[in-house]
Symmetry: C2
């Protein structure tokens, strides 16, 4: 008969598998929220292109960084990472906006 002492044989694979299942759920949620976010920023891109506004808006970006750093602190996320994250997203959005403008978009 096997006599496993839980203290000596921690269920590492089980604990890892459980954590990874939660990570996978959160990642699915993150991807779906990002999909929705880019649907909205595509609309913003068309509005900006129609109005002749520049793709980037530095003042808006400063506001976003400040707000998200604060939300990060409140939710115990590293605010430096939150800033890297929003910068990463905004860089992609501006690239989309430049493509829209480059394609000489005409509103339908």
């Amino acid at each position: 008969m096997t006599d496993l002492d839980p203290a000596q044989e921690p269920a590492i694979p089980a604990a890892l598998a459980e954590a990874r299942a939660s990570i996978d759920n959160l990642d699915a949620a993150l991807v779906h929220l990002l999909a929705e976010r880019f649907k909205i920023t595509r609309r913003v891109g068309r509005i900006k292109a129609d109005a002749g506004l520049p793709p980037a808006d530095p003042a808006r970006e400063v506001e976003q960084v400040t707000r998200l750093r604060q939300l990060a602190v409140e939710s115990e996320l590293d605010p430096e990472f939150a800033e890297k994250f929003i910068t990463f997203i905004v860089r992609e959005v501006v690239r989309h906006h430049e493509q829209i403008r480059g394609a000489d978009w005409v509103a339908g």
Copy 2:
């Protein structure tokens, strides 16, 4: 009396403001999900450090990329961006795991 023709004077600031309010809501949700994700990966980092497992797990990362690219397609997000996103997150996680290992972590 001002006689604005809506076709000549589109409510661009209002449409932009509305879109940005939705973006801000999604960003708050994203930050909170990321905060939760890093709480779980910190636990994973401790489990790995205790077990002497390496911080990175290339096979797991391939699975994550494949799955998230598929979820991206289903939700109309650019799968290339989904891959860049998960790579960005995993790079941060591995950095945390290396810090945990570097700090010669002992489980409490």
